[in-house]
């Protein structure tokens, strides 16, 4: 019943799909909740602080308390804002972030995962939709800081989409498939994770994905020391929570993508597949927080230059190299 990919579309399989979606949603929410907790803890420890430790044992309920607080807060819509767009924007931003979870293979048996033939493309295409939400939020707020933040976001995400996409092409070439499951299987089959043959692509991916996620040192759209909070400066309560959720959902999704494409996904010796996957995802997420604790922020023009003049050529070089190697073998 759970392996609906090979079954015809029947009522039980539709129900199974629905249940699957709900389970993934809950899983993702749980992961996001504790990603935030882990982030605050790791940042705290790296900064000689303790981090959240008040709500629940070891502060484990801190994020839940925060979310509850956000939920019961007043929902403020600025008087001069474009009301309809203002309300729509968080949803436009959030929905794709959850949808991309559909293609990430969490474990060896692909539980609840769509075995899409064009998984990589699907991910890239959907994640690009979020940019609209972010830009609309900036525009609809009718606030200069939000507008600048939204514009910066759009510019940044668009420019980094390209090196990000190109860095993935190398992996796709290696596996000969856009299907994420197949890519994992190919790595397992080769006995070598893509991170080694595709080291250049991996570096480009790491940098471009950091920028794509708007995380330090590329966190310009919400640079609080310049733009106060960027595109979500006017958002409060539940709508604000949606943006935060989007951000961390993408962090999880990008970590999953990284693990799948470069670190062999769920494959690994001894431990069960889902645990391997979890470890790899955690490593990526930890790396992001580590960067956040260390680095200052790029300037916006340097950020653009970096994408077009450094990352894009690197990604192309990687692509050509992979093609040549692939052709010779």
């Amino acid at each position: 019943m759970w392996d609906w990919r090979s079954q015809p579309l029947t009522v039980p399989s539709v129900i199974a799909m629905l249940i699957g979606a709900v389970v993934i949603l809950l899983l993702a929410l749980g992961v996001v909740t504790y990603t935030i907790y882990v982030q605050r803890r790791i940042l705290g420890w790296m900064q000689l602080r303790i981090g959240p430790n008040r709500v629940g044992p070891l502060g484990l309920f801190q994020t839940i308390a925060d979310v509850l607080k956000l939920l019961i807060k007043e929902d403020v819509v600025p008087a001069k804002a474009d009301r309809a767009l203002f309300m729509l924007a968080p949803i436009i931003a959030f929905v794709p972030s959850f949808t991309v979870m559909a293609v990430i293979p969490f474990s060896a048996h692909n539980v609840f995962t769509a075995n899409l033939g064009i998984g990589v493309l699907f991910y890239l295409a959907l994640s690009a939709i979020t940019i609209h939400g972010v830009m609309l939020a900036g525009w609809a707020s009718n606030n200069k800081y939000a507008l600048i933040g939204g514009m910066r976001s759009a510019a940044q995400m668009l420019s980094y989409e390209i090196p990000l996409g190109l860095s993935l092409v190398g992996v796709v070439l290696m596996a000969g498939s856009l299907n994420l499951n197949d890519i994992v299987l190919a790595q397992q089959h080769a006995g070598l994770w893509n991170v080694i043959p595709q080291i250049l692509g991996f570096i480009v991916f790491l940098i471009a994905s950091t920028a794509e996620l708007n995380r330090t040192p590329f966190d310009l759209p919400e640079a609080e020391s310049e733009l106060v909070a960027g595109y979500h400066v006017e958002y409060t309560g539940f709508r604000f929570a949606f943006f935060m959720l989007t951000e961390y959902m993408y962090l999880f999704a990008m970590a999953g993508l990284c693990a799948t494409l470069f670190l062999g996904g769920w494959s690994g010796p001894l431990l069960p597949g889902w645990l391997w996957f979890a470890i790899k995802v955690f490593l990526y997420i930890f790396f992001q927080f580590w960067l956040q604790a260390t680095l200052p922020r790029f300037r916006v023009d340097q950020l653009m230059t970096f994408s077009w003049k450094v990352l894009l050529p690197l990604a192309l070089v990687n692509l050509v190299l992979t093609g040549v190697v692939k052709a010779i073998w």
Partner: protein
Amino acid sequence: MIGFLKGLSVTLRQLPKKKVTLQYPDVKPEWPERFRGVHRFIPELCIACNQCARICPTSCISLSGERDENKKMKIHTFDINFDICILCDLCTEVCPTEAVLMSDTFEMAKYSRDDLYLDMHWLHDNQLKYEQAHPDRFERARGEAD
């Protein structure tokens, strides 16, 4: 590229280090002896000389005294307006009898400005609290006096 990696190693090295956070409401800070918190006041010592009120840069002290049967000045009222007191310590510096001193009471948030007018009784209670909290300091002072 090297500098960036060095930075990463610095932050990673901090992970296991001892944390400096003081868990404030659970753990109260240890104030040194000279700490200038809210005043404490010993009415028996006060000779109502008015020096503290005069030196106060913000004029937050007001006091009145009366002569007792031995023609000695006795303090009658002594109020400090903590709305404007800047805890500069000048009043304790000029006090000839050390009747007004600083304590280590520092939590002064109140819901009403009226509550910030501290009278002689409050300040004396503060003195008693201080004595209780730091018996060692008083013992030492007594030892020095002997």
